[in-house]
Each structure stands twice: as structure tokens, then as C-alpha cells.
Amino acid sequence: MASSARWNHVWVGSETGILKGVNLRRRQATNYVAASALRRDEGVCAMCWGDPSESEILVGCLDRSVKLFSTEKGKFTESRQCLGGEGSFCGLAVHDSSIITCVESGLLKVWRDAENVETQVGAGVCCMRQNPAQPQCVGTGGKENALKVWDLHQPEEPIFRAKNVRNDWLNLRVPVWERDLQFLPGSEKIVTCTGHHQVRLYDPSSPQRRPVLEATYGEYPLTALSLTPAADSVVVGSSHGDMAVIDLRQGRLVKCLKGFAGSVRSVQCHPTLPLVASCGLDRFLRVHNIEDKRLVHKVYLKSRLNCLLLTSRERWEDEEPEPAAPQADVKEEEDELWDGMETVATKTVLKRNMDPHVRETQLGKRPKKQKRTSAGP
């Protein structure tokens, strides 16, 4: 089981401090805990890949410790305290074997063995992301804290500081609340989603510091953002459980993804396959297919989920199941049992990776009824 950790497709961090690895092909979820006893103040608030080959995960917890989890070994290997500032982590990144952390009070720090570099980015930070094309550039944004792009080699001044949009039609200042941001690959553009249900596109290379494009969606704060494989649209999730795909070239809504009952905390698209994984406060992990809006997987993970990481491995169908171990036989039998059962199109039944004692029999499971359409005018 330790080596099967590397086959997990999605890594989800929960509020109880448990790192969950979900294998969507075998439909299993495994819990990985740092210490033997769970503690609430070790809730995961930020996660990122430790290296490009995705064999290590950096997990940032509420008590300001960053733990290193190795997917090869299937356990937590290191932990370090990253103190300074107040509040929990809002962003984690890795650059040149040093960790970049950002906490809510605005302290952005680069932890190196030699000496640490730190800057203040302003209070009330909600998110910090690293530019994948230029790893020394990070962007930060927050509540009443406009988007700023920092170069870590010159940490005194940001290289791009965004300006707020013009006053609205009542000549009132438009409030700023950047909840999540992403860098677009191939250019310097940055997409952000705000708590005032706007999606904004900034272009540092253009002379204007105001957003180039602004689109609104819904009436509730947008909490999570991710870029689709063809970087012309974004998937946003809101605090009311609405997830939508918004086109960036025209700023219009393309399609909505349904099925959520709670706030969406984290969204991530696969880099090549048309899949998007999302997790939220309703304790479910969902994987949708972006093209036909179908729900591909739905997994119940028992704690509220804070953040997730999706592997960029392709060809999930070709992955070989684990070499024969006595447990694997039982699992495969049960897999066949589950496969033999009538599957509902949108839902997959997931069993826990614990002792496979018998689940309660499903009483009279009926095929899903068609949606009731309203009759008559």
C-alpha cells in the first residue's frame, strides 16, 4: 500500500489535517496522517507539488508548519516550522529547492538554508501563486489588497501593481477582494477571481494597469479558479456551489457545471485531458468532464476539504493495477462486485481502503429518475 501512493490521481487536504490520496481508477481513497494523533490545528490550508515530477507534496498546515509528503514512500518525511506573521498560509510554492510561503497578514517569505528573504505584501492576503513560466515571479492578492506581482530577486517593490477599476455609475469606489489568481502560460497575463463575483484579466505588458477584461458571474463570492487546458477559458467556483466555465476572450459564460451542495474551495483542471477536479465544504470531491459537463467521479471524503492537487499524468486507463498481494485479490473481487452492480451514470460508489467489512446493502436502489420538467405553460 505504501507504493500505491504514487498511483493516486488526486491529493486532497482536509480541515482535520488528513491528506487524502484518491485513486480514481480503482475508486479508493486513502488517508495519510502526519502524526498518529489527528489535531484540528493541523488543518491543511495550502498544498503544492514539491518538484516537477510530482513525487513530493508540500502541505501547509494551520499551525504554520510545512510538511513534506513523499508519494513514493507514502508518508510524511519532513516538517518545518515557518513562523512569522499571523494567520494561516494562503500560498505555497517551491523555487530552487527553497520554499516560498505567504501568510494572511501579508508576510511573503522565501525559506532558504542560508538566509531568508521576506517582504510585506499588504494585509489581508487571500492567495499567492507562482508563475510556472518564471518561477521567481509570484503574484499576490487579497481583500482590499490589489494584485501585485513580485520578483523574488528584487523583493522591495512589485514589478506590477494593479490599479482598481474606475468608480461605478454612482461614483463610488469599487471594492477589491481578489480571492484566487492564476498566471496564463505563454504570456504575462494574470486572471483573478474576486469575492465580488468578478473575473478579471490583467496584462502587465500593456500600458494600462487596470484590468483588461472584466466579467461577472453569479451573485456570490468566487472562491476558486483554474485554467482550462486550452488557455482561453477559466473554471471558477463560488461559495454557493456554482461552478462555471468562462471564456476569457469575450468574457462570457460558456457552461455551468452542476452538482455541488456547498462552497467550492479548490478547483484544478488537468493540463491535457478535459477533466476538472473540485473539492469543497460539502465533503465531496468531484471530477467533471469539461466538454460535456458530465460528472465523472464523485467521492465522499468525510471531512471538509480545503485544497487539492491533480496529477498531470495522462492515460489513466492504461495504468496497471497493483501487483498481486492478498489484499489486492480481495479488492479486485470487490471491484468486480461493484462493477457488476448497476451503476448510476453520474455517481460512482466508493469504498474505503479499510478492512472490507460488508457495507450496508443498498435497499431497492432505483435508476435515477429523469428530471421533472414543469408541465404546461
Partner: protein, 328 residues
């Protein structure tokens, strides 16, 4: 009319001959009542068809009963009738009592201070602005039922400003009864330090004077609490919210019990006084108001409907598609 009379005559003569064959001839297998264009005749034939169905059903029942008696002990057990509750779609979030992760989650969530006996519940009951008589009386009766609760008049104050004041005065819960057209129709229950906020739709509110065969007024004794049928994870959270309204140690001398019974996602609240007449016989008297709640949303954090994060929202068009799927 003539043909109808002849048809009536024909069918009247039929049962006289023998029970089965003419009736079967009357309703051959390819026959459908709806193909008759004449409305009177069609109605007549439909009535006949219904009578025939009833007779067949009764005959089948008698036959089965005879077979059952003939078999005696070897008879197969009676089939259980299907109800919506036992046809319920299995909910994967149903809490397993042995589950450690859920147990840990519950032991460290926002209600942990109550369940660890670190706080004593203190409730503030208020209404929406300018309540009418019925709502006012309902709030007063609620405050007699819930120990350590205080009713305050809402003078048009914003909830977001009331909440910090409540927290500073050590209130643990806030109940807001929403009123529409002179009857209470909504309930917002907010656990105070930073706890979840549940928004319910309230219906079937009956005040004490409208309850028939009620007992005397509720006394000051702390009641017991019964929470029925909260099986899923969401149900557990809501059940714990209700439990945290009442003080920990019920006074059994008072013989009063508050029941929150969940059935098909509707939560029925009743308040009774019981007396054990013998080991197995109990007499109950209903006191106090009764109402029915339906959960609309559960929000993490105190009341902030615009910018707060929701843990569960009832989405009618997505969640109500199956009549056998319930969420609580």
C-alpha cells in the same frame, strides 16, 4: 342511449351465467376503455372495469389467504410493503458509528465546547422587524421551553451588528424567527462564537392554545432532548446544533422532553410531558408549541448570507429530482 342500455343489459346478464368468462369477454385483453369515443359510454365502461378490478383483487386476496392457511407453518413470511422510507436511496454520507474520522471531526468542530461542557447554552431569541402578535406569542412560548433563553425586540437592527454584541455578552446561540404576513415562516439558528448558521423554513406553527388536549404550562425544569433519524453527516451537524440549544443535564423530575424528529427531510418539533404509568405504559401530554422545519442552507460561520461560505444549500432543481432521496 339504446346501445348503452343494451350493453348494460348484456353485462347485467353476464354475471348471472358464470363469474369469469363473460367478464373476460367483457374486457378482452386488447380492449382499452380509452378507445371509446362516446363519453357517457366510456365512463360507464370505466366504472365497470374498475368494479371488475376490485373483484379480481378481492378474489386474489382470498385465494392467497386460503393458501397461506393451508400451508400453516410452512407459509413464506408476509412480504413487507414498500414505503418511501424503506425505499430510500442509500446516502453515502450516512455516518457509521465506528468511523474514527467522523468522530474526530465531530469532537473538534464548533460544538465541541458545548459537548465538552465548557460552555452553558444561552440563547437569544428575536424576530424579523416589527413582528405581529402571533410571532410574538410564539417567541414567548419558545423562551419558556428553552431554558436560559431571552427574547429581545428587534428594533430594525442588522444581524451583523447584533452578533458581535451577543458574543461579548456570552450568548452561545441566536434564533431569529422570520415572519411573513403575520405568521412565522422561517428560522435562522446561528451558533455564536463562530459557528454554523442554519436557515430553515418553518411551517405548521401551532401555539399552545391551538393544541388540543394539552397539559399545563411547561415548568422551569430542563427538558430531555430526543433527536430522531438524523443519519447523514449533514443530519449529524444539524442534530448537534439542536442539541446544543438545551442544557446538558436534563432534570428528570420535570418529566419534560423536547423531540426533534426527522422524517423525509422535514424536522418535526414537539414538546411533551410524560409519565410512566407502569413499566411499559407511558402517558404523554403535549405542551408547548409545535412546528415543522425544513433545512434550506447551512452556512459555515456566523450569519453572512452574501459573503459567507455555505456548507450545504438546498438546490431544488438538482436535489429534488428523486422522491426517494433525502439529505438529512
Amino acid at each position: 342511449m339504446a346501445s348503452m342500455a343494451s350493453a348494460a343489459a348484456g353485462s347485467a346478464a353476464g354475471p348471472g351465467d358464470s363469474a369469469r368468462a363473460p367478464d373476460q369477454a367483457l374486457f378482452p385483453p386488447g380492449f382499452s376503455v380509452s378507445e371509446i369515443k362516446n363519453k357517457q359510454r366510456r365512463h360507464f365502461m370505466f366504472v365497470r372495469w374498475k368494479q371488475q378490478q376490485r373483484k379480481d383483487k378481492l378474489a386474489n386476496k382470498k385465494k392467497r389467504k386460503k393458501e397461506r392457511e393451508a400451508l400453516g407453518d410452512k407459509a413464506p413470511p408476509k412480504p413487507v410493503p414498500k414505503t418511501i422510507e424503506n425505499q430510500r436511496v442509500y446516502d453515502e454520507t450516512t455516518v457509521d458509528p465506528n468511523d474514527e474520522e467522523v468522530a474526530f471531526d465531530e469532537s473538534t468542530d464548533e460544538f465541541a465546547p458545548y459537548f465538552n461542557r465548557q460552555t452553558v447554552p444561552k440563547i437569544l431569541i428575536t424576530t424579523s422587524d416589527r413582528p405581529r402578535g402571533r410571532t410574538v406569542r410564539f417567541c414567548e412560548q419558545l423562551s419558556t421551553i428553552i431554558p436560559n433563553s431571552h427574547v429581545y425586540y428587534r428594533r430594525g437592527l442588522a444581524l451583523k451588528r447584533i452578533i458581535p454584541q451577543c458574543i461579548s455578552r456570552d450568548f452561545t446561540d441566536l434564533i431569529v424567527i422570520n415572519e411573513d404576513r403575520k405568521i412565522p415562516n422561517g428560522l435562522v439558528l446561528s451558533h455564536l462564537p463562530d459557528g454554523p448558521t442554519a436557515h430553515f423554513r418553518m411551517s405548521s406553527v401551532r401555539l399552545r392554545k391551538e393544541i388540543k388536549r394539552k397539559g399545563k404550562a411547561p415548568t422551569e425544569h430542563q427538558p430531555e432532548v430526543i433527536l430522531n433519524n438524523f443519519t447523514t453527516r449533514l443530519g449529524h451537524s444539524v442534530g448537534r446544533m439542536f442539541a446544543s440549544l438545551f442544557p446538558h443535564d436534563p432534570q428528570f423530575i420535570g418529566r419534560q422532553v423536547a423531540t426533534f424528529h426527522n422524517q423525509r427531510d422535514y424536522i418535526f418539533f414537539r414538546f411533551h410531558r410524560y409519565i410512566f404509568r407502569s413499566e411499559k405504559k407511558v402517558g404523554i401530554q403535549e405542551l408547548g408549541p409545535r412546528f415543522t422545519l425544513k433545512l434550506r442552507s447551512l452556512q459555515k460561520g456566523t450569519f453572512d448570507s452574501k459573503f459567507g461560505e455555505y456548507e450545504w444549500i438546498h438546490k431544488h432543481r438538482e436535489m429534488d429530482t428523486s422522491r426517494r432521496k433525502f439529505h438529512l
